[in-house]
Amino acid sequence: MIRRIWSAEWLKVKRTWIAALTLLGPAGIIACLMVDYAIRSDYILKIYPDEWTGLILEASMILPTAIMMGVTLFASLLAGLEHQTNAWKYSLALPLSRFQLYLGKGLQLVFLLFLCSVLTSLGFAFLWVWNGFEADIPWLELFQGTLYPLLAALPVIMIQLWLSVTLRNQALPITVGVLGATIGAALAEWLPWAYPTNALPVDTENLGRTAQEPEKWVPVGIVLGILLLILGGWNFTRREVK
């Protein structure tokens, strides 16, 4: 059953902004980094011990924020497909489990973000060649670099999913997501919005920055994310839908 819900969800996003955003997001991040390297590559190569550390830490200025903003937008746009056409009523009238419908949206959201992650990693590889770095492309690290923050962002993903699905007016979910992405990380490291910022696979010991601890924040993110998905789905099954 979940497989058919899944394919129905993909039909809905065909030729929408959601599809475009999956390409635009990663392209935007890579374009920013290309400009960054073009303007001050001497400085970047000087302050970091090696090329990979430089790349991921320069990317870290934008990557966690971009992931969380992307989460906010994708969640809002996916839920908006239903809200705008008053389609919840119809989907929920079908003989389907409500929990599975919610799960379907959640899986789709995670999968879209996963696509963005993979595309960004490929973009990193392109950047590596473009900049003419001499070392071999560190493929494993490139993929870890975007997937770790994404996995650590699972709690944020599930919070946004629940807010966007349950509230009709998207002003509040979007503002919560944007606040979390822009200010959340500065408040406290145990807040879900700080996990992606602290989950990069890089050793920052001697660089005078906050320590990156993916081995701690990735599992925390996964466990809390699954928990929030179940809680959100549980709440969704007992809501009244207009």
Binding site: I174, T175, I183
Partner: protein, 244 residues
């Protein structure tokens, strides 16, 4: 003129003020909280100025440009859901008046946000017991400059929000353009020309120890940007066919 005030008062009544209130206060409150957690580095500035610079950085860099877009999408939402544009524009009202009234509402919401920032910041500073006199002049100048600098963006977002029915699409456009301002501020020549990086540049105190601000260029770009976006949006709104 009377007709215009009536449209304004209709806009006023349509607005969900509790929501605008929550949106306008949440950002400044968290921005002040985050600015507070940063330890003061005595870099020749007095405590008030240096804490203010920190707060403005948290609040103005990314959050403020995006909330401007949220307000612009919000004032158009009442018409977008349930086909309100058709109803509104079928009335004997001038489209210019409608456009102006919507624009004024957005400007007012942004002003509320800036006011909340000022109040929360001064309250937090008092609670923390910062030394010295409160530099009211600098604060007022900063929040009002931030307000003016956000107007080109507000006009642009209003335009985009008219065009797309979805709430998410104008916001997606806004976010895509806001994120590069993380990098734009590193470039002294490029930064004043980037509309999404203008509010934070206008707000941050002149001697902030982080960025060089070129005031003349900034003022010129803000004024011309506003004219471009406002006239463009207004003319398009006049001519656009309304189908829903």
């Amino acid at each position: 003129m009377k007709a215009f005030w009536r449209i304004c008062s209709a806009e006023w009544k349509k607005t969900q003020w509790w929501l605008v209130g929550v949106l306008a206060m949440a950002g400044p409150a968290l921005g002040v909280l985050a600015g507070n957690t940063v330890t003061l580095q005595h870099s020749g500035m007095d405590d008030w100025t240096s804490m203010f610079a920190m707060t403005v950085q948290q609040y103005g860099w990314l959050f403020f440009p995006i909330i401007v877009g949220v307000f612009a999408a919000l004032v158009c939402r009442y018409e977008h859901v349930n086909g309100g544009w058709k109803h509104l524009l079928a009335l004997p009202v001038s489209r210019t008046h409608v456009y102006l009234a919507k624009g004024l509402m957005v400007a007012f919401c942004i002003a509320l946000c800036q006011l909340a920032l000022l109040l929360f910041f001064v309250a937090a500073g008092q609670v923390k017991g910062l030394d010295g006199d409160i530099p009211w002049g600098m604060f007022l100048q900063s929040v009002s400059a931030g307000w003016v600098a956000a107007l080109p963006l507000a006009a642009l977002q209003l335009w985009v929000s008219f065009v797309w029915r979805s709430f998410g699409v104008p916001l997606a456009i806004n976010v895509i353009f806001t994120l590069p301002s993380i990098f734009a501020l590193n470039s002294e020549t490029f930064a004043p020309y980037y509309p999404w990086a203008q509010p934070v540049q206008a707000m941050i105190p002149a001697e902030n120890g982080m960025f060089q601000i070129r005031t003349e260029t900034l003022t010129f770009v803000i004024i011309s940007g506003f004219l471009l976006a406002a006239v463009g949006g207004w003319q398009h709104f006049l001519r656009r066919e309304v189908t829903e």
